[in-house]
Chain length 322, copies 2
Amino acid sequence: MRAEMAEQPAVLERLLARADDVRVALDGPRPAGVAIVARGSSDHAAIYGRYLLELVTGRPVALAAPSLHTRYGARTDMTGWLVIAVSQSGETPEVVDVAGRLRAGGGRVVAVTNGAGSPLAEAADVVLALEAGEERAVPATKTYTAQLGAFALLATALGSPPWPDLGGVPAAVAAALEDPAPADALAERWTGADGLLVAARGFLYAAALEAALKVRETALVPAQGFSTADLLHGPIAAVEPGAPALLLRADGPTARDVDEAAGALRDRGADVRSLPLPDGVPEALLPFPAAIRAQQLALGLALRRGLDPDAPAGLQKVTPTR
Amino acid sequence: MRAEMAEQPAVLERLLARADDVRVALDGPRPAGVAIVARGSSDHAAIYGRYLLELVTGRPVALAAPSLHTRYGARTDMTGWLVIAVSQSGETPEVVDVAGRLRAGGGRVVAVTNGAGSPLAEAADVVLALEAGEERAVPATKTYTAQLGAFALLATALGSPPWPDLGGVPAAVAAALEDPAPADALAERWTGADGLLVAARGFLYAAALEAALKVRETALVPAQGFSTADLLHGPIAAVEPGAPALLLRADGPTARDVDEAAGALRDRGADVRSLPLPDGVPEALLPFPAAIRAQQLALGLALRRGLDPDAPAGLQKVTPTR
């Protein structure tokens, strides 16, 4: 896991250099809408993409409900829609199945996958190959940030993204990797935690969900991610004094929301901490360094808890959800 | 809470009798798509609606990302779209704000609310008033099942729903209310639990999320809801021997998925239980009796844990998320 984490700046450097290719491959009229199909950590990249793509296309973006298609036989008219199907391996049967059905319904399917010759790639109109190299550790690291990169490329191809350029992303990721101390300090503080709450809003919301998933599957700590807005709508009632709470915060339009949640959590006695994110990186690109912080926390917790971060109990690399 | 739970059959009886009115109010061309705006437990009714409405309209359904509009100024073209905004009180500023913006973007807004003269009702093209009477307990019960009822009415108005009629719903809800023993037995078994996992798939997925929220906010047990498909993609790794796990299961196309998850949870030593749902009720209507089971479990746990279910610590009835 640690070795694959270290590859991320190089993987992103290669991937983000392909902006022109992606633009050419996606050339065409503005889509009527965008649907995204994903599961597991890919689903968190999809949530990031959901925000980005609605912002740049000005059209509604929907996350597909797979069972609607595979279990209930929905026949959704996708004429004029772009369908983005995300699977690290490209072999999750359910994602392949849903992508095929939405294509049959008239959608134009883009496969975002590390599996260039995979069934998902075969079923798509356009393949955005991550070319991240083989990922052997069960927790997705370099393929996850590469999926974020793919959505950033798609946003660049489909409209005017909320950043001047993507050139600074590999360096921001490298800088976070070279500075493991903040996450290590939290891992030390929370080694014995029997739960972890992670919250954020807006572009960092997906990062909070992914941080919780990474901690759950790597360090086996029951962690739960929330939007700060949802947190205040009920779940905060169950927060007990001393409960570990991690907030991801960006300067900008969501800062006040996160500060408000921090205050409410502190009022309940929670152990509220945050992890530093770089200044000068546009908010919409902070999910990249935030993913590194989450990986560092998950790795640090796993090692301190005597677990093998490469193969947490009971997980397979490709989950054969049908 | 108990008194408001008992009102549900009568509330649903009145609401579901208004199918013709809803059909007339929604008359018009088939929408290009449907967007749903909601927070908290209303968001779980929205997920139920998401499945139903995509199935009956054959058009994509999206759950709105509120911060995209209120924090990042997205201007989404909603021409031809139906926008369904759900808020018990009709006063959650964020839901009102997003509904107004999507209406300005060309969407036709339907307010689903118990607040007939509320700001949300004022901002909408069509009001589907729940008429559930005042709800005083913090945990939403009768307004939640009424929201499910509203989506069932919308599905009936917009296409061919996956049930012959809605006539049996109030009786199914009444029968579940008259049979609290199964949920009470679980509440007794899990009184001291420090966590609860709830999982389901398809139409019952939203019911699993809502059951977890109800238990969290009413009984202050950290509970987490999952789709069985997502559960197998990572979170199951953190399940420890003896961990309480509640599965909601329908006969039909998702039964195998739930059985598979039950097997995987049992392999990890989890204490896997289910709550009975009635035979003879179409799968797409089981979320109604499932909501009753969840309320009974949350109430039973709260009372056994010495809590006041009407006013769990630190929650307000209207959450002023901006």
